[in-house]
Symmetry: C2
Subunit: 202 residues, 2 copies
């Protein structure tokens, strides 16, 4: 099996960190997003919406969507659990993973795509919306700061996929000049801890 990956993009990084935490080796095939390799006819057969990452199994079955790929490996390699064990843990981790994804990760992505025009050959940038998305992302950092005041990690007491999504979002946010603020000391403490894990360099 192999994963179609783009080393510089924030979404595939989520899967790389997830697999590194699980200790799973993987073959990665690099796809150049700027050249549009991801939207070639061949890649559209693997994922009709033309996005990476894509996991290709040995029989040719393809699974796209970073969290779906993580779900596959969580089921096959439950240890260490990154998506929860009990029903309540699973739900709480999914709640935080989704909130971080929608309110931070995607807002950073929309800010990038709509203010820079990086993908203007294949989408319609609306800079005014990009600015709004950036403000939304900044505001959500306040929610995380509050959450991390009393919690070591975002979703519960152990590292989870919610932390991975937040780390990838915050690192990528530098591209659009969104950073942890000086007074967000709990968020900074969390950021330092998750960045120091070996998986962060995957």
């Amino acid at each position: 099996m192999k994963i179609y990956d783009t080393h510089t993009a924030p979404t595939p990084r989520r899967v790389r960190i997830f697999l590194a935490e699980k200790g799973i080796d993987m073959e990665y095939v690099q796809v150049d997003l700027q050249k549009g390799e991801n939207i070639s006819p061949d890649m559209r057969l693997k994922n009709p919406i033309g996005k990476v990452p894509i996991l290709e199994l040995d029989d040719g079955t393809c699974i796209s969507e970073s969290v779906a790929i993580c779900r596959y490996f969580e089921a096959l390699h439950p240890e260490p659990p990154l998506m929860g064990t009990t029903a309540l843990e699973q739900a709480q981790i999914e709640m935080w993973q989704r909130q971080v994804e929608f309110a931070l990760f995607m807002q950073v992505g929309m800010c990038f795509q709509h203010t820079t025009g990086y993908f203007k050959d294949r989408m319609t940038p609306v800079p005014e919306y990009g600015e709004v998305a950036g403000i939304n992302a900044s505001k959500y950092l306040n929610v995380l700061e509050k959450r991390l005041k009393d919690n070591e990690f975002i979703a519960n007491n152990s590292f989870s996929i919610a932390d991975i999504t937040a780390l990838c979002a915050i690192d990528f946010a530098r591209v659009v000049k969104i950073k942890i603020k000086d007074d967000q000391v709990n968020l900074q403490r969390w950021y330092n801890a998750v960045s120091a894990r070996p998986s962060a360099s995957a």
Copy 2:
């Protein structure tokens, strides 16, 4: 336990349909989004980002995010499975559920929020972006039409959460005048089938 719900909104409907398919009875408490009841200080304690649905357990623990609530009940009541049983099924259903959510459900939602200004007291509508989102949603109906040519349901051979997300998106899309096109006969066949299930009226 109870769920804070808004009967007219597309997101909480996903949970109602999911629970109806599982045969789970639930107490629903109505929250008026237009009056801003969802962003009151009390509701912010239950969900810091002020969105419904929210599942409140008897001990006061709150789980927000529709798919996280569904995940909780999938773990506690596995039959009938709506999120997959094997690792591959779980991944494929999550893949389709996410693609339908991002490329259709959310695009319809952004089109509604940004073109109508319905929530302009609490967000900054960018009408030009709303138009783009509506076009994105319409385009994704073509992906579903192609998918449903050879598949009875969206993710695999049985009804899943991906079908629920798509049904709620397509029904809500009428508000912004996005509809299944006359030549999308497979999508229409699927729509008629899932709309006829008793759960659709939940």
